[in-house]
């Protein structure tokens, strides 16, 4: 990887840390501690299920909010404040800037998820006093959540390369919601006819399939996740995020920075 991409990514990560983005971890820690104590008192035999469901859903939502709200400003804020001028007047190619920003935010989200994961496992330990073999599947669910973050970060970056922060947030959040029901959309497409079928099928495959990347319920019920699904999801997230970044680069390469 180009050294300039690493420098831009490091600076993006440093910005997130200095802007106190990781403070959300305190809220998350409080939420998990409170939930564990509460669940421990009111649930019988399903403490683990509730903690895993609640913990992983919170990890996913916190991360999505951070990905969208930082992502929308990654490019537009740099243009608005003209900090980009002193970067692009150096031997930095526009695609390097976009890719560096992506890795910077992805790194921030990975670190954030790591600390939140410690919180989830801490809560699990609190309610059940010991870890079980099937708790390992929680790690797979967390890996899929990180893959979702990569996709949404790339999409937000794509939107922010040509539209305003507000519109970028609306587009990205809409895609997150629609993508969470992608399997239903595909089911709907299968039962329609004619042009509607074409349109629905196109839309179903165009939106990111977040429902395939959501195995929270499965791991909460201690069900295993197949190796094939891990492989498919990894390839899918990689291809989808790469395509979204390529789109962002294509738009940004032609953009006049007024």
């Amino acid at each position: 990887m180009s050294a300039r991409i690493v420098h831009i990514a490091t600076n993006t990560f440093r910005e997130a840390v200095r802007d106190r983005v990781l403070y959300n971890l305190i809220v998350f820690a409080l939420l998990m501690s409170g939930a564990s104590i509460l669940v421990g008192q009111i649930s019988i035999d399903i403490e683990r299920l509730v903690v895993i469901n609640l913990g992983l859903t919170a990890v996913s939502l916190f991360g999505m909010v951070i990905a969208i709200f930082i992502g929308i400003g990654l490019v537009s804020k740099e243009i608005e404040k003209r900090t980009l001028y002193t970067v692009l007047s150096r031997p930095v190619r526009r695609w390097e800037f976009i890719v560096g920003k992506f890795f910077g935010l992805a790194g921030t989200l990975a670190v954030n998820t790591f600390f939140m994961a410690i919180g989830v496992f801490g809560s699990l330990l609190y309610v059940s006093r010991h870890f079980q073999k099937q708790d390992g599947w929680v790690l797979v669910a967390l890996y899929f959540i990180v893959l979702q973050f990569l996709i949404i970060t790339a999409l937000t970056l794509f939107f922010s390369s040509f539209s305003s922060p507000l519109l970028s947030a609306v587009f990205a959040f809409s895609l997150f919601v629609i993508g969470s029901f992608a399997e239903d959309l595909r089911g709907f497409a299968a039962i329609t006819q004619g042009a509607t079928r074409w349109l629905a099928t196109g839309a179903a495959y165009l939106v990111p399939n977040f429902s395939a990347l959501n195995v929270i319920s499965l791991v909460a019920h201690a069900q295993p996740v197949s190796g094939q699904l891990i492989l498919y999801n990894s390839a899918y997230a990689l291809i989808y995020a790469t395509m979204a970044i390529c789109g962002a680069v294509l738009v940004f390469e032609r953009r006049n920075l007024k």
Binding site: A3, H7, T83, T86, L88, S89, P91, N256
Partner: protein, 313 residues
């Protein structure tokens, strides 16, 4: 060798709901700036100075024409490693300290990691911020930010330095320091291309200037040439309580300031005026030919466009 070659560079924006109406930000511009020159790009606000600089930096794309810096295309990373740029009213990552920011820019410019720290300290010293390296930029005043802006533009020892309104936001001391710095850069053999609307700065610093207005190049030349045309008038200065009637009779235009009198009169009457002062036993201080100042030249070049805009209004 030419440091900067601009060939028919043009920028047009489409405005209006259906984007049909063209707005000319820069009409075809042709300029050549030689290595080692301090070149002033002058014009009123909105003249097209910043548009030209953005085109040269590859921040916006030209509608037509091209430019080469150090013989390379404007998007060539090899060229960009050899130039420095200070944008107008610069703003930087305010969560960083001055030293961190310069270190980051040094990394992006490919400055050797072993020398980076030394270069950062040197450049902070050079712009008058030796003790502000550890301070976050959000605590900097406008003038300090301008100094950091200049520091990042020269940090990597570039061959060509582009400065967009470098004196903006600086107090008289700061302006003097920046002027000295620009002269020092010239002595080091660097080419300095700077935009300004402060004519006294340009007159004091530049080897050559170009005047631009409403996206159109109005004139270009050496400051000495532009300001050397003589009006055929002389300025006579002497010390005395009043203007002798003989000088009034020569058609002198007089201004009295305390004990000093300045008179502008035709060059043909110069000897007669000196004789009249001698007769009156007044102390002659100087006799100098009246030359066109850069301001006169600037106003003269802008007059037709001002008249056209006035007529349109």
């Amino acid at each position: 060798m030419a440091a900067i070659e601009i060939l028919g560079l043009e920028k047009t924006y489409s405005v209006g709901f259906w984007r049909k109406k063209p707005k000319y930000a820069l009409r075809p511009l042709n300029l050549t700036i030689q290595e080692g020159e301090i070149f002033g790009f002058l014009g009123p606000n909105g003249a097209g100075k910043t548009t030209t600089l953005k085109l040269l930096m590859g921040l916006i794309f030209p509608t037509a024409g091209s430019a080469r810096i150090l013989g390379m295309e404007v998007d060539d990373p090899l060229m960009k490693a050899q130039i420095g740029f200070l944008p107008e009213q610069p703003y930087f990552y305010d969560y960083l300290t001055a030293r961190e920011l310069l270190d980051y820019y040094g990394q992006l410019s490919g400055v050797d990691p072993k020398q980076r720290s030394r270069k950062v300290n040197e450049v902070l010293q050079r712009v008058g911020l030796p003790d502000a390296g550890a301070v976050q930029l959000r605590k900097f005043s406008k003038g300090m930010l301008q100094r950091v802006g200049i520091a990042q533009a020269i940090l990597h020892d570039p061959k060509v330095v582009f400065l967009d309104e470098p004196m903006s936001g600086l107090d008289p001391m700061g302006r003097r320091e920046v002027r000295d710095l620009m002269e020092q850069l010239k002595l080091e053999g660097k080419t300095v291309f700077f935009s300004t609307h402060i004519l006294s700065d340009a007159e004091a610093l530049c080897d050559r200037v170009a005047i631009i207005n409403q996206g159109d190049l109005q004139g270009v030349g050496a400051v000495a040439d532009l300001t050397s045309s003589v009006h055929g008038k002389v300025e006579v200065v002497w010390q005395g309580p009043a203007v002798p009637p003989a000088l009034r009779a020569l058609g002198a235009e007089c201004h009295v300031t305390g004990e000093t009198v300045r008179a502008i009169l035709s060059e043909a009457n110069q000897d007669a005026a000196i004789e009249a002062l001698r007769r009156e036993r007044l102390r002659l201080i100087s006799v100098t030919p009246v030359r066109t100042s850069l301001e006169d030249y600037f106003m003269q070049k802008l007059q037709p466009t001002l008249a056209t805009s006035g007529a349109r209004a």
